[in-house]
Symmetry: C2
Subunit: 298 residues, 2 copies
């Protein structure tokens, strides 16, 4: 009896704790605390942009898997120093911040021009995809692939990046050809998902989006600044791999193909914090956070 | 024959124009241009708040139909001058701007305290409701009621306001009772729909949201400002009805229960502008604009 009892108590505790977990997921801070190094990945310095503003650095992780031509163009423009001294020329509330050449005086480097649209891509044979269970207004399926919010349609055999907050796109003119990458925009409002499949998205801001989202709104049409409004200068845009290690941001991003990330999604679907009286039990693609943190010193 | 021909041409034009309309809806500017006075409604001065900032005026249309107790509290606080001299104390990126008493030195006026939750309401027998056709991640049904984005569940017999960009809510503590209205927040990022049914929404910013969304982000937890960060003062909050006509904003809002608004929804589902190569054919509740304009002088 004594033995049985000693056996039963741990079992009961396990059952109780399992029940409690099922009823109430861990909170996001607890999930981050419980994470192990393998739940995180470093940024690839060859595909990381630093947008240096007078107010600080915006870090962008580029997505060459989705927009290889645009990313190649952006790297060429960056290495040619094209962006240095340009400015944030457009700040449209609940929409986008966009940078470019305010005076149209900077010629594009040789070999750089418009490129073929990369608005969506054929679903690759091997594709990491963490699906969300709650559906989506715009696409048959949504989820995460390599740290990026994506939408896809197996009927169309297509996958595309989704215009969530902080996503980076390439401005273009009216024609179907895409822009060169000389003008990029960052989403700073409610996800303009109607732009999906109409613009090439090239990456995501992983740090510093508030340096772009908190700028004064432009008062000309579409949020462009007027001649008398002072746009924020872009000191430079650089590729992390081109910089000395000491000057690089030392960030890592939570992987989106792990049980830990699945637990995070569940926690955000059913918020366990005491504040929430009626947890939604659902989540929209663009409300799932993709955690970023400083890497611990080795 | 001459007569027949003269009859046929207008018919052909009607058919052609109808076909063109079916294939390509009017753009939003064209819809606004074609609108008639009956497509618009004035704001009710008794339920309109002016938040006067050093940078300009934010105009809020309150929603007493959804949160009568909170709106009554806010009117009492406003008329007692409670808000005058307070400040924007919280500015959290992609989330909310919130005002309140930065030093906790302003006592609430007599009779003002926490109120019963008004997080959702029983669906009224007569309810204006313009439904959206494309579904929603969070709720069984979404649409517009009296100019406000709403969600509802006929199974639950409940309707509630949705946390779209620019919606105004009442901050509360952890308990289920709601806040007094002394601290209000405005959504300035991707719709935090997980707050739906967890907080009392009391209205919508109809003008000037950019005066709140473009403020520097607070660097303390949850976007609160630290002691060394300078919060933007609230000069005053006033009710339009309490002000001389000459000092009132003269705005009108597009009605959401008209064929004109239905046409606007259709235009935003299938964007007719040349820019769009693959119109979404869908729209998310919080991506539908609710137009606001200056009233023409009489």
């Amino acid at each position: 009896m004594d033995h049985n009892f000693r056996f039963l108590i741990p079992c009961a505790l396990i059952i109780l704790s399992h029940t409690a977990l099922a009823a109430k997921p861990l909170s996001m801070p607890d999930i981050l605390k419980a994470s192990s190094p393998s739940d995180w990945r470093p940024l690839d310095p060859n595909n990381t942009l630093y947008v240096e503003l007078p107010t600080g650095r915006v870090v962008i992780e580029m997505a060459p898997a989705f927009a290889p031509l645009h990313v190649a163009n952006i790297k060429t423009l960056t290495r040619a120093g094209y962006f240095n001294g340009l400015a944030v020329i457009r700040e449209q509330d609940n929409y986008v911040a966009q940078w470019g050449d305010p005076d149209n005086r900077h010629p594009l480097p040789p070999g750089i021009g418009k490129v073929a649209p990369e608005f969506d891509a054929v679903i690759p044979a091997q594709m990491a995809f963490t699906a969300l269970p709650d559906g989506d207004v715009y696409a048959p399926e949504v989820g995460f692939s390599n740290g990026l919010p994506v939408a896809r349609s197996t009927a169309l055999h297509k996958v595309w990046l989704a215009h969530c907050y902080g996503m980076v796109g390439v401005g273009r003119d009216l024609d179907a050809e895409s822009g060169s990458g000389a003008e990029m925009y960052v989403v700073i409002g409610h996800a303009p998902r109607h732009l999906d499949r109409n613009v090439a998205l090239v990456g995501r801001v992983v740090k510093g989006v508030e340096l772009l989202s908190a700028l004064p709104r432009g008062s000309a049409a579409m949020g462009f600044y007027t001649k008398t409004e002072k746009p924020l200068p872009i000191k430079s845009i650089r590729i992390a791999a081109d910089m000395p290690a000491a000057e690089r941001s030392n960030l890592e991003v939570m992987r989106t193909d792990t049980p830990r990330f699945a637990a995070l999604i569940e926690s955000r679907r059913n918020r366990p914090e005491d504040f929430f009286k009626v947890p939604a039990g659902k989540i929209d693609l663009c409300n799932v956070p993709i955690p970023v943190r400083e890497r611990a010193a080795k």
